[in-house]
Amino acid sequence: MRSLFNLFVPAMSLAMCVGALAQGPTYKLGRTPTKEEIRAWDIAISPDGKELPPGSGSAAEGISIFAQKCMRCHGSGGRGSGVAGVFVSPTGPGGAIVTSKGPPFNFPLATTLWDAINRSMPRYQEGSLNANQVYAVTAALLYWNGVIQEGDVMDAKTLPQVRMPSRNMFIPLNPDYKKYMACNPNRLKCLNQGVLAPSEK
């Protein structure tokens, strides 16, 4: 359905505003990438998770992978070792996840966590975890922080549906850049106007 829709949109736009799209390439340099080339690099994960690859993992599997691959820097159970980020509140699962501390406490989306682990972890061995392992480690961090249950399986469908406790802690709540830019939040007079109004929820 999605792919059908994607085909429709350019076709409709073309019909409706030919002027805007009539602009063709001027210099005609570069070449068209192959689908495989795009797929290999298309690793950034959107909020709806459409780039997530097949695979799955649970917290139980993730805890064991974490001990092998992550504990050295992030400490036993993600409680920190002084080298890298603390992933679990010292006060225990749940509760303190919504703090101003580092990731994953302040990630509004579970897909962000998956993206960060897949993209840049483990340090010096980036890209060495397969998709199942990334799902599993993501699940372990979510479980340790009381976001999901131990048995919950994370995959391309379930992960984007996880409701992160910090989802509503951002201003503006929805990423409307134009609305945000309407009043520069670095100006004192904008403090209590528009996007900075504390009433926005």
């Binding site: 390439p25 340099l29 298309d42 890298a84 509004p108 993206d115 010096y124 980036e126 990423p175 403090l191």
Partner: protein, 428 residues
């Protein structure tokens, strides 16, 4: 034979000229040297073998202007600071450009023949470019600063390491960047109407990534392969990087390999960890605070330097703004009681360092030197009190040296004592 003789005759005189120019540029601290040098040292026949190369020259071995590893830095980062106290003009030499490298490692070694730039997503024509193809496109050269969001804050609140302008303001630099405007590339690819944001991503091991509003990217962002007349340095993103004029450092994605046009920000790690956690936001965090506000600092005299005696000095410093061009700079030598308009070095470039100057005669008494600037948006650099109010700190409770703010554009005071010692007045 004749030609050879001519060459040997030309060499000493051009060398003398070079040395004289170098000495003039070196300025204040070496005034005494020039005098004695004009008598004997310039006539010296001793070759400068340590600093001479006919292939790629390096500064004189009398110069010791180097980056400083940021003390008290995050353990996984290699952060090195630009020595602004010794800077002249507005261009940071490429070898002194500040850097923040992940993994505490040397930068990646990327073969420019193998490197590719992919443009895809919500575009009519996905494209993949080699560096050579990119260089065939219409290019621009523009002078812009790059400043880390954490410049002028001190992680962990360690006051002792915050003495010099290198330590307070070392995470910023300014270069002439050469490359292709992102707008040129996106027009070639044809952005579809749903395309509202781009994802810019690097080829480094951690694949640094940033969501960018397409309005910003289309305005003046560029994919740069040149820096100060040569290829972008490895620690600056060789063979190509994003240059995001006026916005915080993380937008300037190094080793750029991919631009994907998308419909929304992906809210990846960099979007979230770099959101403002202002106390007055009641536990919430502010997204999208992307453009640097007007900011300036006196580089000379500055912390750690010493005035050799009373008399005339030219106060000089740098001013810049993510909002556009610097309109004016004012300097106070009495702790902010009175201000005088500084002279700006022209031309003034948009979103670039602007060098300013003020004549000053030091009477040997205590003095507090500081500068404040205004940009062409009419925004004015903030006092510590105004910055505290913006963030919601109680007056007097903000500690500029702790990790209690970001995008700090506070007026920086330097205190001169009766012995001529210059110190960071925030530390006293």
């Amino acid at each position: 034979m004749e030609a050879k003789e001519k060459a040997t005759k030309i060499k000493p005189s051009s060398r003398r000229r070079f040395l004289k120019q170098g000495a003039v540029l070196a300025g204040l601290a070496t005034v005494g040297e020039i005098r004695s040098a004009s008598g004997q040292k310039l006539e010296s026949r001793v070759p400068d073998e340590r600093s001479f190369s006919s292939f790629y020259g390096v500064p004189s071995h009398f110069e010791n202007n180097v980056r400083e590893i940021a003390p008290n830095q995050y353990p996984h980062m290699l952060s090195a600071l630009t020595p602004h106290q010794d800077s002249v003009g507005i261009i940071t030499p490429s070898g002194l450009h500040f850097l923040n490298l992940r993994n505490h490692d040397a930068p990646p070694s990327i073969d420019p023949q193998q490197h590719r730039l992919l443009i895809h997503g919500l575009v009519d024509r996905p494209l993949i470019y080699t560096l050579e193809e990119l260089k065939r496109l219409p290019s621009v050269s523009r002078i812009h600063f790059i400043e880390c969001r954490g410049n002028t804050i001190w992680p962990g609140g360690n006051h002792s390491g915050f003495r010099t302008v290198q330590e307070t303001h070392g995470k910023m630099s300014c270069s002439e960047w050469t490359g292709v405007l992102v707008s040129t590339l996106l027009r070639e690819a044809g952005v579809q109407t749903e395309g509202k944001w781009i994802i810019a991503e690097g080829a480094d091991a951690g694949h640094h990534v940033k969501s960018i509003p397409i309005e910003m990217a289309m305005d003046d962002f560029m994919v740069a392969y040149g820096q100060n007349g040569e290829a972008v340095r490895p620690e600056q993103g060789y063979p190509m990087r994003m240059v995001a004029p006026g916005s915080v450092g993380i937008f300037n994605v190094k080793y750029l390999r991919r631009i994907k046009v998308v419909d929304q920000p992906y809210m990846l790690a960099a979007e979230n960890t770099y959101a403002d956690a202002r106390p007055n936001l009641q536990g919430k965090r502010l997204w999208f605070n992307y453009y640097w506000q007007p900011k300036s600092v006196i580089t000379r005299p500055s912390g750690g330097q010493r005035l050799p005696g009373h008399g005339y000095y030219e106060i000089t410093g740098l001013a810049w703004s993510g909002g556009g061009a610097i309109r004016n700079v004012e300097v106070s030598t009495d702790g902010g009681k009175t201000w005088r308009e500084a002279r700006l070095q022209e031309p003034v470039h948009r979103k670039a360092f602007t060098r300013f100057f003020l004549d000053w005669t030091w009477d040997g008494q205590e003095a507090v030197l500081q500068s404040r600037c205004t940009d062409d948006q009419g925004d004015v650099q903030k006092s510590l009190e105004e910055f505290a109010e913006l963030w919601g700190y109680k007056p007097g409770s903000i500690d500029i040296n702790s990790n209690s703010g970001a995008m700090v554009n506070v007026i920086q005071p330097w205190k001169v004592d009766r012995d001529g010692r210059v110190e960071n007045a925030f530390l006293i």
